[in-house]
Amino acid sequence: MRKVYSKIESISGNVITVSAEGIRYGELAEVSSRHGKSLAEVIRLRNNQVSLQVYAGSRGISTGDEVRFLGHPMRVSFSDNLLGRVFDGSGRPRDKGASLMENLIEIGGPSVNPARRIIPRKMVRTGIPMIDFFNSLVESQKLPIFSISGEPYNELLARIAMQAEVDIIILGGMGLKYDDYLFFRDTLEEGGAMSRAIFFVHTASDPIVECLLVPDVSLAVAERFALKGKRVLVLLTDMTNFSDALKEIAITMEQVPSNRGYPGDLYTQLASRYEKAVDFEGAGSITILGVTTMPGDDVTHPIPDNTGYITEGQYYLRNGRIEPFGSLSRLKQMVNKDTRPDHRALMDGMIKLYAAYKEAVEKKSMGFRMSDWDCKLLKYGDLFEREMMDLSVNKPLEQALDDGWKILAECFTKEETNMRSDLIRRYWPAREAAE
């Protein structure tokens, strides 16, 4: 039995300090107060002064409360029993199920050796045309959804969770509204996807420190499943809350802030999570899809800015649609060459026409006269938004490609589309071709 300390010397923010010996950096302790027990993690050692970050927050902790060191860092249970379960940030069950204690694994493990990484090559199909068709998601990719508060990013994530062709879905919720948590749970339960899902959810009312644990716990579990050959999709929402939690802790710890109050290591902190995305040669993979709500819709804000430097592209979710401009999957060219011969050409062609449509709309709004070509574009833009961009549209890639040709045929002549003639011969819808 390890020694129990019962003299807390200082309490500041969520950080308490005790005098103790033989303590290791990163070790866990259990703090028992009148309000219950909480885990705490050693975040600074100075002689025998040990500073701990209390996961449940320091509210109500008294200087006389007991601190018992556990002799190991933060761990989480890993087994197939996790599937279908809901936990909080420190791994306690949030559903009514039993707490799991077997096969504990450490979180925040070492990073993957770059020499052992492989070039990504497998597409993750989601059934959402704006993703599969225009910005394919690739296994082992890390992609954020840049959005603003009020946009249906959680609905989008839930749909991707339901439809994505992966073995296991891990949802890491940070600062989630309780309604959103229930929404995720109900959607996955109704869709029958709960049996392959694991939730680690920190809600907005939970102690802020637990928010910091969510990505690490989720990714540690994901990593184990991936090593066992599973294709894992990790959904992290919302990374802005995670970054704000980092900021809060850093300020409490009296760290010098760098940019708008965020700690100088924000980039490193985010990168060490996102870089867990990996494709293990001969085993499974981890794909990370995160949500970053941009404060004030400002992409130069430190959170989206640092995220953009780390991730392999981004989806912009605006007005309930994934924007074709700005959204980018850097890895799409690794996979969209192998789907169908017309995929790339049709993708480029349709986006170019949509850009022309946007110009036509601008022209129209400024009161210029619309030419025939402009009218065709306006028709095309409407169809494109309805058939492709609308988030409720749900179709496999091949059908989306066929529909793309249909839209083109409905609005333009063959020459106007600027598509390669061999593709037109092969894919132009038959009815139109007969004309």
Partner: protein, 600 residues
């Protein structure tokens, strides 16, 4: 000195405070012993009997009273044959060997000898007994891939030495003695093929430093023609995310006309390094006919690897670059990205509780960046030969705003600035280097007056474009409109380049000169285009032909055909030459003269 011992008394992130006995020197390497692991670290501050160390590994599990061993040595890299083709982490651990030993993950506390100790190299002696030698003098050579690797007197030998014996030609490992040197006090010192050199000390064993004057060809048109880089020079590429910094670096690492390329992937995405790791062995270097890997060293400390080693990685890279420079080679060091390195400094500075400067970067940021870039240079070696280190660093400014401290500190010391713009990358104009904001202090291979003329057209064309946004096309005069079309033509047919097209991705200097002459000819012509509609059609078809010519093999029939078509198109509408352009042409040498300038 190596007898100093210490005990951990505090841990804060990756900084460990140690109380020690004996003598400890600044920046020396120490090992924190925790459990069965020895974690490499560096002394970064000494106060009384306490030293602060930055640990190059995760610090989890370190406890108060853990032992610390001081080595008395500064952080150093091992130099010798076998560096080429290697993939190292920031502390010169070979990553593929590490993977063999530890599997998928980077286990901490595992250090592997950077060079093979068993591989034998064919040594040919060049010095003979009785010669007098100093640091960096050649003792012999071994073949390393396509290069003749010089075996030199170690750079830390400060005396003058008499060669007592040199090993006969034969195959030796890097640990076998190849020569014995006798110093002025008569001590005999055995010399092997490899030695260590502290990373933060520049190697200065050369005769003199020269001004960088010879252009370094990158085969990127906008760089070589408008904002050139010199061998031994420095340049920086700042840009917001997604503007194509890394792609530009990758293209340069493939095509640059240098002997050796050292890639320091510092704190960026691991996936990008993987591209290089997997592609380079299969790509053929057109100059040597061998795999590109033969001339490459990769130092890789990606964003999720320990932060402190990030700082070490750029120094490791530059030290290896200087080592090969001593062999009379031209070395290019590409650092991606220096901002991550600066951030690593900021993190450490915060832990040391130093008074922060702007955006919490330490006050010494500027001087550290300056002294790093100053390690570039063209030098004349003691044997009269020349060698150079060219440094190109990317900068990732927060929010894409160039006013931030790292960009500003870098701009002060570099010779060329290739600023990437979000505007251009959004418009899919690659490379997204901004032609008006960027600058270079080096002399390129193109005629300055001609390129300035092109820049002027861009500048004025840009003004017209701005105006057109307000008054519309209708309110613009045809003359201005033609100017605008000319600037657009220069932009899309010359400044932009398709890095994925096999021909267009690398353009030789000869071809650049030739094509720019044609473009200059178009830009400087007065054209008979009475309406805007005619101008638009005319330039569109010119542009199409120029773009097609860009993807045609140099001097192929297709290229010649397109070119003669472009010329006849020009002649059809040309009614004279702009006055200022005629002045420039007058001053040109015969060889620089635009091909058809005299014909009108």
């Amino acid at each position: 000195m190596a007898d100093a011992k210490g005990k951990v008394i505090g841990v804060n992130g990756n900084m460990v405070t140690v109380s020690f006995e004996g003598n400890v020197s600044m920046n020396e390497v120490a090992y924190v012993v925790t459990g069965d692991k020895r974690l490499k670290s560096e002394v970064i501050r000494i106060r009384g009997s306490n030293a602060e160390l930055q640990v190059f590994e995760m610090t989890r599990g370190i406890g108060v009273a853990d032992q610390v061993e001081f080595t008395g040595e500064l952080l150093a890299v091992r130099l010798g044959p076998g560096l080429l083709r290697q993939i190292y982490d920031g502390l010169q651990n070979p990553l593929p060997e590490l993977a063999e030993k530890c599997g998928f993950f980077l286990e901490r506390g595992v250090y592997i000898h950077p060079l093979s100790r068993t591989r034998r190299w064919d040594f040919t002696p060049t010095a003979k007994a009785g010669d007098t030698v100093e640091a960096a003098d050649q003792l012999g050579t071994v073949p390393e891939g396509i290069f003749k690797h010089r075996i030199m007197v170690p750079f830390n030998f400060t005396d003058s030495y008499r060669v007592k014996s040199v090993a006969p030609p034969g195959a030796y490992t890097i640990e076998e003695t190849v020569a014995e040197l006798e110093d002025s006090r008569g001590r005999v010192i055995p010399v092997t093929m490899s030695f260590e050199w502290p990373v933060k000390r520049p190697i200065t064993a050369y005769a003199r430093r020269l001004k960088p004057e010879k252009p370094m060809v990158t085969k990127v048109r906008i760089i070589d023609t408008f904002i050139p880089v010199a061998l031994g020079g420095t340049y920086c590429i700042p840009g917001p995310f997604g503007a194509g910094k890394t792609v530009l670096q990758q293209v340069t690492s493939r095509n640059a006309e240098v002997d050796i390329v050292i890639i320091a992937a510092c704190g960026e995405r691991a996936g990008e390094v993987v591209d290089t790791l997997k592609e380079f062995p299969e790509l053929i270097d057109p100059r040597t006919g061998k795999s590109l890997m033969e001339r490459t060293v990769i130092i890789c400390n990606t964003s999720s690897m320990p932060v402190a080693a990030r700082e070490a990685s750029v120094y490791t890279a530059v030290t290896i670059a200087e080592y090969y420079r001593q062999m009379g080679l031209n070395v290019l060091l590409l650092a991606d990205s220096t901002s991550r390195w600066a951030q690593a400094m900021r993190e450490m500075s915060g832990r040391l509780e130093e008074i922060p400067g702007e955006e919490a970067f330490p006050a010494y940021l500027e001087s550290v960046i300056a002294s790093f870039y100053e390690r570039a240079g063209m030098v004349q070696l003691k044997d009269g030969g020349f060698g150079s280190v060219t440094i190109g660093g990317t900068v990732s400014p927060a929010g894409g705003n160039f006013e931030e401290p790292v960009t500003q500190a870098t701009l002060k010391v570099v010779g060329a600035f290739h600023g990437l713009s979000r505007e251009r990358s959004d418009a899919r104009k690659y490379p997204a280097i901004h032609p008006l904001d960027s600058w270079s202090k080096y002399r390129g291979s193109a005629n300055r007056m001609m390129t300035e003329y092109g820049r002027d057209i861009l500048f004025r064309g840009n003004d017209v474009a701005q105006m057109m946004k307000v008054v519309g096309e209708e309110g613009t005069s045809t003359e201005d409109y033609i100017l605008y079309m000319k600037s657009e033509l220069l932009d899309s047919a010359y400044l932009q380049q398709d890095s994925f097209d096999p021909v267009d991705s690398s353009v030789s200097i000869e071809r650049q000169r030739h094509v720019y002459r044609t473009i200059f000819d178009i830009l400087s012509s007065k054209l008979d285009l009475p309406t805007k509609e005619e101008a638009r059609q005319y330039f569109n078809s010119l542009r199409q032909n120029l773009l097609d010519a860009n993807t045609a093999e140099w001097n192929s029939d297709e290229f010649r055909r397109l070119e003669s078509e472009i010329r006849s198109q020009l002649q059809a509408k040309k009614i004279g030459v702009e006055q200022d352009a005629a002045e420039i042409v007058k001053h040109l040498t015969e060889q620089e003269r635009p091909s058809h300038a005299q014909s009108v």
